[in-house]
Symmetry: C2
Amino acid sequence: MSEIETRGATDRLHDQLEVIVALLRGHGEGPLPPPAHARLQRILDGLHSADIAFILESLPLDDRIAVWQCVKADRDGDILLEVSDAVRESLIADMDSHEIMAAVEPLDADEVADLVEDLPTAMLPELMASLDLQQRQQVQSALSYEDDQLGALMDFEMLTISEDVSLDAVLRYLRHFDELPPQTDKLFVVNHENLLTGVLPLHWLLVNAPETMVSDVMAPDVNTFHPTDDAYEVAQAFERYDLVTAPVVDETGHLIGRITIDAMVDVIREESESEMLGRAGLREEEDIFASIWASVRNRWAWLAINLVTAFVASRVIGLFEGAIEKLVALATLMPIVAGIGGNSGNQTITMIVRAMALEQVNPNAIRRLWRKELGVALFNGVVWGGVIGIVAALLYDSPTLGLVMTAAMTLNLLLAAFMGVGIPMMMIRLGRDPALGSSIFLTFVTDSGGFFIFLGLATIFLV
Amino acid sequence: MSEIETRGATDRLHDQLEVIVALLRGHGEGPLPPPAHARLQRILDGLHSADIAFILESLPLDDRIAVWQCVKADRDGDILLEVSDAVRESLIADMDSHEIMAAVEPLDADEVADLVEDLPTAMLPELMASLDLQQRQQVQSALSYEDDQLGALMDFEMLTISEDVSLDAVLRYLRHFDELPPQTDKLFVVNHENLLTGVLPLHWLLVNAPETMVSDVMAPDVNTFHPTDDAYEVAQAFERYDLVTAPVVDETGHLIGRITIDAMVDVIREESESEMLGRAGLREEEDIFASIWASVRNRWAWLAINLVTAFVASRVIGLFEGAIEKLVALATLMPIVAGIGGNSGNQTITMIVRAMALEQVNPNAIRRLWRKELGVALFNGVVWGGVIGIVAALLYDSPTLGLVMTAAMTLNLLLAAFMGVGIPMMMIRLGRDPALGSSIFLTFVTDSGGFFIFLGLATIFLV
């Protein structure tokens, strides 16, 4: 009945958050006084687990823990499943092993598997011992897959029927349940060996005559996936074919689990988020209220790489110190050449990486893409390089300097276009994610290359 | 029965694409010979509309049109709905008005509304005249909302029941249909005035006894949305509460449409994509096979802005040409100070913009965020600035130069942290999307600021 609580969802949630912040701020230091505590508990009891998760994520650590301690123990597990990894860590750090066991107890096997890696290792033997045999096997099965494999995301709440019964029998069978597994939009048809022979969408169960046999209306073949399938590719299939649930079978076709759209939506969101974070060199999702030290650790690797590439680019300039001493305008103008190359090349990379994520780029297309991008670069070089060349010529009263500037910008834009197509293609061939390192590598090339081209041309024609 | 065709979806699709490319390449110039044409048609007939859309998006323009002309006319509409905007434009440009009318004819009103803005304006009177009154009203209703409002995304395929009937009556009612609207997971309960009084999830219809009354098991209140709601906020609600469909009501509570998870998944994906594109200054989705001229137009505004900011930063350097002439090492080292500031500030922006998209940042948090980010910056400035300062001191045999370098890096990192928090906050206050302009503005500040701080300090202490 959680639906009752969520009307006008977003607005109400923000109101609740404000009320809670006011409650926490309303008293002095120390623990919450009992009336405030009771009021907070009443508010939380009325909220969906996902809403409590949102509130916990929006609060700084001390407030977060204060709210967490007001949450009823039997909801802890659901909420831990909803919060982000960074926040989950901070909540678990506040729980003792007794509380953790109580939180995990009401969860399904696939949910336990989701939490296991964030729990203290010392607890695992006790936890596994508390599960029954089937659950333990399911947890172990889920844990045996990589995070990006479907097996790590499937659940085990399948409703199976056999094909040699009537729809009426299926309808009567379903009435034995108090509820159906969440998101159920189809029943899985299996034979006596648990081999998947088809699916029966609830729609067909509802529109066909009760005396019809399952075998007559079931879909004999379906969007079936394997636990080793790449989760993101399956998510794309869910998107493409508007699926809500799909069966997961082992290599011999036995039904072993199912996958639901809500897990796939998470995959889609995480994929784009990790790309966004990766491009800025944030290694993982960062709790915005994390400590300074946690943030430093999350970000240092990227800064170190940037420092090295910036240093190399700087040494390229160092090669031409003689020229700069004679004509200081070179120092003033060189960042323009390097910067525009970087910007333009990153546009190319963004477009190509995006097309790659949608799998629209095949290797045959590379020459065609190069032709197009080099064309764009040539156009921009002549036009924008021309504009900035004229400005430079007027500013320093030197037509030759203007020509050198235009030529350098055009050449660096061509270099950027060439690398903007080539780098992500190369990353793919090396089996790496083109979204992650491409941009930093490109900027390195356009910086060093831009300085070299501009200062080199200037040395030849001007100094 | 489309499910039959999609087994092993992703792999099979790539195979098909290769077969099609080979077919198109296998003959000389000119139109496809009849046997190849027939074979292509056979392949396409066996594919899901979404798969044909994928193939069209993966092909360069001439091949794309060749394939498009082999698609059966009655599928044109479905496929046009599936392809990206840029590709849709290229396909429609190839169709005459007769073909377009035929493509639109089998579509639902909400789908017609999705296509309308891409159709030649001259066709609209004829198109609207071909619709019946209800459809015309629905199309006009859908068109009356902004693209980012829910009203533009809802469909009109609602199954409604009244609350004073038994579940058995509902089951019998459903058997009158040949199929249910796609994704149906609940029926909408309305009174005689079409006021929404609740929903009946199919699950509850199935697990409860047939003689139960709808009013006894329906959810009396639901996740109900309004056509003016922000589509992205509704998508977040779908994600949070694992919804599959939800009713849309007008301000007086009358049921006017419904919204489905597949539309919301598109919203989630588009939101992250437009953020990604926006950050690289690509104004809109770009067909990777677009013409050079189309690409130039799509990208020029961003390059122009970058050129202006780069030019301003260059004038900042110009202020210190005297200092650079005396100490050319300054020209060599200054890009490091500017570059690291930009990288570090962009990490801060990425983290904050992401938290803002998840609505986890409230204005109260700004001071706390500043404290944290300035702390990170101070740490990085002292450590990394210290390292690069030592290297500079050794390289140019000048301890003072090393100290100036360390001080300038620290100050520029502090500036980057201050602006990295402040710029997105300011954008929000001005009612603008912080994902779009923040990064370019920050880089401008860290470039100009970095040059000014470093060259300024050098002028004071070194020259």
